[in-house]
């Protein structure tokens, strides 16, 4: 086709490959296909949105009426008009107090080791692959692990500490991977400057690498926590009680969390009609918490965006 670009004198003698009349005849069909495809993709996008809107409508129309201060602060009761979710809220908060510190220490520690200390080699890529695989293990499997180790072997029972540790293991890969990415994003010339002045590795990590990557790390931790808040399966597996009235006051107490409360009320709604609405109201609370946490993560990320 190069010939076309040459000067006109030559053009007349060259064989023409492009038949403009033919091209134009097919143009309409091509443009039509282009438009059809565009709307198909738009429809795919809208599908998810419509489902979400429908879900939201369902939940809010069902649950908003039940949402009140009393509902948030009352203890669990079999009488719908007296029942509240303070127990589940307290349990969720307790769970976070275990999951947060445990994943931070283990997750950031692992990430620092892998990025800063470990020699890149077969062992390194073996660990790396396994952490990635760990993120794909179904949560119920973590629940069985927690049941075997924390509940039975350590004898914690279905307590906050057992649930918290199980949940911490579940979300650990999220924190590790997010922290690794944040640490890797710190430019190597900053480390070199620090090493160049005789700083040790740990001094460099503490004074240069962590301050520069803390935003990314915290974002990862918050996202991990919001995943832990919504998980139900591992807690079902470790056998936390279906209905529990007392509010937990120490890490060895039995407990329940918001998604568990939703689960049991939904199941029992065949017995008591109001339970369905109470489950919906609890979902609203859970969604509000998740929305808040994700907003905080976004704010942190934007505020501490790379300044180097």
């Amino acid at each position: 086709m190069k010939e076309l670009a040459l000067n006109s004198n030559e053009k007349t003698t060259q064989k023409q490959y492009m038949n403009l009349a033919k091209v134009n005849r097919r143009m309409t069909a091509r443009l039509l296909i282009n438009n059809v495809v565009k709307y198909l993709f738009f429809a795919s996008t809208m599908f998810g949105l419509v489902i979400l809107a429908f879900l939201m409508y369902q939940i809010f129309s069902d649950g908003l009426g039940w949402l009140s201060m009393d509902f948030l602060t009352n203890r669990l009761s079999t009488l719908p008009e007296r029942a509240g979710i303070i127990g589940a809220i307290t349990g969720t908060v307790w769970l976070m107090f275990i999951v947060g510190p445990v994943t931070m220490v283990l997750g950031i520690g692992t990430a620092i080791y892998l990025e800063e200390y470990a020699k890149k080699g077969k062992f390194h890529s073996f660990i790396q692959t396994n952490i990635t695989n760990l993120a794909g293990v179904p949560s119920i499997v973590f629940g069985l692990l927690g049941l075997t180790i924390f509940v039975r072997m350590f004898g914690f029972g279905p307590s906050i500490i057992a649930g918290g540790l199980t949940m911490a293991l579940l979300v650990l890969p999220i924190v590790v991977v997010a922290s690794q990415e944040a640490i890797r994003a710190v430019p190597s010339y900053l480390r070199e400057a620090s090493y160049g002045m005789g700083a040790t590795k740990w001094q460099t990590i503490k004074n240069i690498v962590l301050p520069a990557s803390i935003a990314g790390i915290l974002t990862g931790v918050i996202l991990a926590l919001s995943r832990a808040i919504g998980e139900t399966a591992p807690l079902v597996a470790i056998g936390i009680p279906a209905l529990i009235v007392p509010i937990p006051s120490s890490i060895t107490d039995n407990f329940t969390v918001l998604p568990m409360q939703i689960y049991y009320w939904t199941i029992d709604s065949v017995l008591v009609d109001e339970y369905a609405s109470m489950a919906a109201a609890t979902i609203i609370v859970l969604l509000a918490v998740l929305f808040l946490m994700n907003s905080v993560a976004i704010i942190i990320r934007n505020k501490f965006q790379k300044r180097y």
Partner: protein
């Protein structure tokens, strides 16, 4: 005056007369370095002297940056590096098993190609070195910061904005800040890896003037792409080519009557 020339097989080392009284800071003996299978430095032998500016010149990929990074063992940060031979810093082999690399780097400051201040205030940038070495007293830190910034000829420009982020400075100012940051740990030697290659001509001139002043108190080893710069500021010049030292001598000899044809070709701009 005799020149110092060598081949891969038979290294010949001859000292020029005026070195008799100056003590050797760095002495490199039969240094070889490989990146994996790539033989990047071949049998380097170089003595470097106190209170002199030693320039290392050569075309891209000749190993000059690798060599200067070997002097403070920064090159080991790269994966898969193997080294043979010796580098004596003040008569001690820096590759000795018991040699503490942090100790070496405390005595040998390094200025990098691209200015690399920390994302901290100007004050904290300078105080970083002293702090990691255990100086906590605010009054002493203040004195060190002023002394170092004066030493790097940047005090007057930044004295009113010490608490501002160092990223607000211009490129040339950032590079002088990095030099000041090195001075803060009172080093013996300054290694400079193409310190002006990212700077405009005016800032380059300022840094060059600074190097000439610093020579009084420090031994300086500078890698440069710019031959005029080497001629302007250095006392000794080493010409590297394909990982070998082709010629090492007084700068005026290298630039007037080099003994190796390849040196002459490079200096007169026939390649590189």
């Amino acid at each position: 005056m005799s020149s110092l020339s060598m081949s891969t097989e038979v290294p010949v080392k001859k000292e020029t007369k005026d070195h008799v009284n100056k003590s050797v800071v760095y002495d490199t003996k039969n240094l070889n370095l490989w990146y994996g299978d790539n033989h990047a430095l071949k049998n380097i032998n170089l003595p470097m002297h106190e209170n002199e500016v030693t320039a290392i010149i050569g075309p891209s990929g000749c190993g000059k940056s690798t060599y200067i990074k070997t002097l403070n063992r920064m090159v080991e940060l790269v994966q898969d590096v193997s080294i043979s031979g010796e580098i004596l810093y003040r008569d001690k082999n820096i590759f000795d098993k018991n040699y503490r690399v942090e100790e070496l780097r405390t005595r040998v400051g390094m200025v990098f190609q691209k200015p690399n201040p920390f994302p901290k205030s100007i004050f904290d940038n300078i105080a970083y070195g002293p702090r990691i070495h255990g100086i906590k007293d605010k009054k002493i830190l203040k004195e060190i910061v002023e002394k170092s910034l004066r030493g790097a000829a940047i005090w007057d420009e930044v004295k009113d904005r010490l608490q501002e982020n160092a990223y607000g400075l211009s490129g040339g100012q950032q590079q002088r800040l990095c030099i000041a940051r090195c001075l803060a740990i009172e080093p013996d030697v300054l290694l400079m890896d193409e310190p002006t290659s990212a700077l405009d001509p005016k800032s380059t001139l300022k840094v060059e003037e600074l190097i000439k002043e610093l020579k009084e108190n420090y031994s300086i080893i500078i890698v440069t792409h710019n031959m005029q710069q080497a001629a302007r500021i250095s006392d000794k010049t080493a010409f590297f080519l394909n990982g070998e030292v082709i010629e090492y001598d007084d700068t005026d000899i290298i630039f007037s009557t080099p003994s190796d044809k390849r040196t002459e070709d490079y200096i007169t701009g026939r390649f590189g």
